[in-house]
């Protein structure tokens, strides 16, 4: 069975500090991977997607970047956090090229102070 793991579970960071969030998928080969952001009490907004190692497409610009160093790993990062980066970050995967059925991880709660 496939499992999706996100780390850390929660982070409290200062404005201007760097950030790195991770996501690992086990049990699926060559999944499509996605990063989403969710404001507290809000909807989900897709940030990035990747269909293969080393390839990442940006969907919205939020002063964040993403990388896919391994087939089963997706990293979200920034060098300088903003207050507006606070929220819930979710990693998702899909198997089909169209990305219709997407399955989400448990999320990372980020608080920027």
């Amino acid at each position: 069975a496939q499992t999706i793991h996100q780390w850390p579970v929660a982070e409290i960071k200062a404005v201007g500090s760097p950030l790195s969030l991770g996501c690992t998928i086990k049990g699926k080969s060559s999944p499509n991977l996605y990063w989403y952001w969710q404001a507290t009490g809000g909807t989900l907004q897709q940030l990035f997607y990747s269909i293969t190692v080393g390839q990442v497409e940006s969907v919205v610009q939020l002063n964040l970047s993403a990388s896919r160093p391994k087939d089963d790993q997706f990293i979200l990062s920034t060098e300088k956090l903003l207050l507006s980066h606070s929220g819930f970050y979710l990693c998702a995967w899909s198997l089909d090229w169209g990305g219709a059925e997407q399955y989400f991880g448990p999320g990372t709660r980020l608080t920027v102070l």
Partner: protein, 112 residues
């Protein structure tokens, strides 16, 4: 402009009643509509989905009704249970884009 709209924003029903959550969309190229259930502090879970070639999809107590002409869907939860209390998101996607568009969600409270 919100491409996927949901109503009501919040809904309270009694245990055993049917909860009806509505969703509408603008883009006629959307052809797949998943519904996600999210509990506080957790990632959303895929609950049920429908493709635009169908007008109904049933899975246990959960049923999606789809009206392509009016660009509307509804999720019916029959025999609602307190454990169904969660936020429900309607989403939509076009073809092979991989870009899921989410509505703002409906928060359902089932009173025992």
């Amino acid at each position: 402009q919100q491409q996927v709209r949901q109503s009501p924003q919040s809904l309270t029903v009694w245990e055993g009643e049917t909860a009806i959550l509505n969703c509408s969309y603008e883009d006629s190229t959307f052809n797949y509509f998943p519904w996600y259930q999210q509990f506080p502090g957790e990632g959303p879970a895929l609950l049920i989905s429908i493709r635009s070639v169908s007008d109904k999809k049933e899975d246990g107590r959960f049923t999606i009704f789809f009206n392509k002409r009016e660009k509307k869907l509804s999720l019916h939860i029959t025999d609602s249970q307190p454990g169904d209390s969660a936020t429900y998101f309607c989403a939509a996607i076009t073809g092979n884009t991989g870009k899921l568009i989410f509505g703002l969600g409906t928060t359902l409270q089932v009173q025992p």
